[in-house]
Symmetry: C2
Subunit: 234 residues, 2 copies
């Protein structure tokens, strides 16, 4: 193996490591955002914001390294698909971090209201969304199509929970208009979690494409087309 | 100029054309989704769904062509940045199309309710969001950093309108709990429009990076960090 190639392989391994580190920092953000809500502890938000700074720095750095590796080494087939996947997944993780920040902002307004309430369904939903992020990143690291497929299948559960939470909060608002502010903040948090699940799904699709060169996007969509989804689950 | 290079330039021009075509189809979807709401005409949704099929096909096709061009021609610097921008912008446009579909789904539930109401602010918001998409794509086509910067500046207007619409609908819900379903559907539509504006902003940032090799992402974020945004504008 030529010295240049070995160098390239090392840089690629380093890049993957950076991406996975960015992913685990982002998972911490989701976890802290939920703890802030469950434990009614706003100080968690500060930690989330400071981790976001790191994640934003990594986002730019990873993009630059991937572009530089493409330009300098002009990789073929497998390595090229890997670098393209890194660029896409990098974008997905950065958006997940944004959504964790949004969750903290909504939490502020949930906690500002006096009524305490359990967040059981939200906690379950957050657990599934976070696991999806975790498994999607593992599937990238291990080039594991089965794990990526698991993530795709899991997305329905998140959507179902979002619908359930929405219906409950709608009833809550209808019976107590004074609780509308608070209920809407909780709905926004559930939508942030749903979008985190969507980004994990995107990562899983990128992994399948990277491994198989086969595009699984838009496959399920076609089956669902032309029937309205219940807005209650929207 | 060698024959292979000429061929590459032609393929690149063809790819750009395809991406811009996908963009203009997606703008049609936003336009039709809003018309469906304003004219209370649900048949518009069907057209939106059928355009989405085309857009999804283009999304996969553009990704494949960009990857093939990278692999076969191993472009340097400028062309590589262009191809990376195509891959990213392709993802943004596909998400905008998804959001137009979401708008139609919410519209269904707005129109199911009996009370008619004007959608003036939503119409203004949609106009700005669509113009942002249009200008971001033009800035890509013309490598026009000033146009891209215009898009970044415009995003505040969309956020302000989203806040205004939210506050109005909150008052509306509080005074008439029977209107909660409908009001929430309208809030969801305004959030879809906001996210369309965000994707246009992402495209504009990709263009600036493509042209200048300078990363403008996360610059404004840092100034806004550590102060809570009003959830009323969330």
């Amino acid at each position: 193996m030529a010295a240049m190639e070995r160098h390239f392989d090392e840089e690629l391994a380093e890049l993957k490591k950076k991406l996975l580190h960015m992913g685990s920092e982002t998972r911490k953000m989701i976890d802290l955002a939920m703890k802030g809500l469950e434990e009614q502890d706003e100080s968690k938000a500060k930690t989330v914001f400071s981790i976001e700074d790191k994640v934003n720095g990594l986002h730019i750095e990873i993009d630059e390294i991937a572009m530089r590796l493409m330009a300098l080494h002009q990789p073929m087939a497998t390595d090229l698909r890997l670098l393209a996947a890194v660029i896409k997944i990098n974008g997905e993780i950065e958006r997940i971090a944004d959504l964790a920040v949004n969750m903290c902002e909504s939490t502020h307004f949930v906690l500002a209201e006096s009524q305490p309430k359990s967040f059981k369904d939200l906690t379950v939903m957050a657990g599934i969304a976070e696991r999806m992020v975790c498994e999607s990143l593992k599937s990238f690291n291990n080039k594991d199509v089965a794990a990526a497929q698991w993530v795709l299948d899991e997305d329905d559960k998140v959507d179902d929970l979002k619908g359930k939470i929405f219906r409950e909060l709608l009833t809550y608002m209808s019976s107590d208009p004074g609780a509308i502010d608070r209920a809407i903040s909780l709905i926004l948090i559930s939508r942030n979690l749903e979008r985190i699940g969507d980004h994990a799904t995107n990562i899983a699709e990128d992994v399948i494409y990277m491994v198989q060169g086969r595009d699984v996007r838009h496959k399920t969509l076609e089956m669902e087309k032309h029937k309205y989804k219940d807005v209650k689950s929207e």
